[in-house]
């Protein structure tokens, strides 16, 4: 097992929290689409924030050296670039799908805002996961 820096531990914490919230959210969203509400999305975001705070606090408490250097900053930028590309690409695809469904009257105008919110949250979560995985991979590869 290679030794992990504070930044790597923090990224693993982020990934665990993201997956712990996003996977159940995605499953529930697909199985109970009809009963989906804004409060469900809000609850998911709240749980995600609480999980992130808890995990990051635990990691910080058990790590003595929390130094961040030039390599960490370079890797962080690389991750954000991957996350941005993910946001742009998936947002374009999902918004196009949303537009097609609404044009075919498969989504009522009343549900449009909720669907938009769902897509927006899903894209943000996917981009966050891609960003974190890219950063974790960068720590193990030549820069």
């Amino acid at each position: 097992m290679p030794s992990l820096s504070y930044q790597e531990k923090s990224l693993y914490g982020e990934l665990v929290a993201d997956l712990a919230v996003f996977v159940p959210y995605f499953i529930i969203m697909h199985t109970h689409q009809a009963t989906l509400t804004v409060s469900f999305i809000a609850a998911s975001i709240t749980i995600l924030i609480a999980a992130q705070i808890f995990l990051q606090a635990v990691i910080a408490a058990f790590t003595r050296n929390r130094l961040k250097d030039e390599r960490d900053r370079l890797i962080r930028l690389r991750g954000y670039r991957a996350g941005y590309i993910t946001i742009v690409t998936i947002m374009l695809i999902l918004m196009s799908m949303l537009w097609v469904h609404s044009s075919l009257k498969q989504i009522t105008p009343a549900h449009m805002a909720l669907h938009f919110l769902t897509v927006f949250f899903a894209v943000l979560m996917l981009a966050e996961i891609v960003k974190t995985i890219t950063q974790l991979a960068a720590y193990r590869r030549p820069l």
Binding site: S3, S5, N65, L67, K68, E70, R71, P142, L143
Partner: protein
């Protein structure tokens, strides 16, 4: 890293210095020192000079660059 080599491990051994001690001296993490030693990361010019300063040697004694053309010969 293609083209760039370093003698960090040898210099560290000659000065009986651990990776953590060197990391603390130049203000980076131990993982970054490991990445430099394994040629997986080219440090910034500032960090490179700091390393040379710690060992009191010229920069070219720590880092050597082989241009791609010299490899073909």
């Amino acid at each position: 890293m293609p083209g760039l080599r370093n003698t960090l491990r040898d210099l560290r051994a000659a000065h009986s210095m651990t990776q953590q001690e060197l990391a603390d001296a130049i203000g980076v993490t131990r993982q970054t020192v490991i990445a430099i030693e394994l040629d997986k990361y080219s440090p910034s010019l500032e960090t490179a000079f700091r390393i040379a300063h710690v060992f009191s040697v010229p920069l070219e004694q720590v880092f050597q660059y082989d241009p791609p053309s010299s490899k073909k010969k």
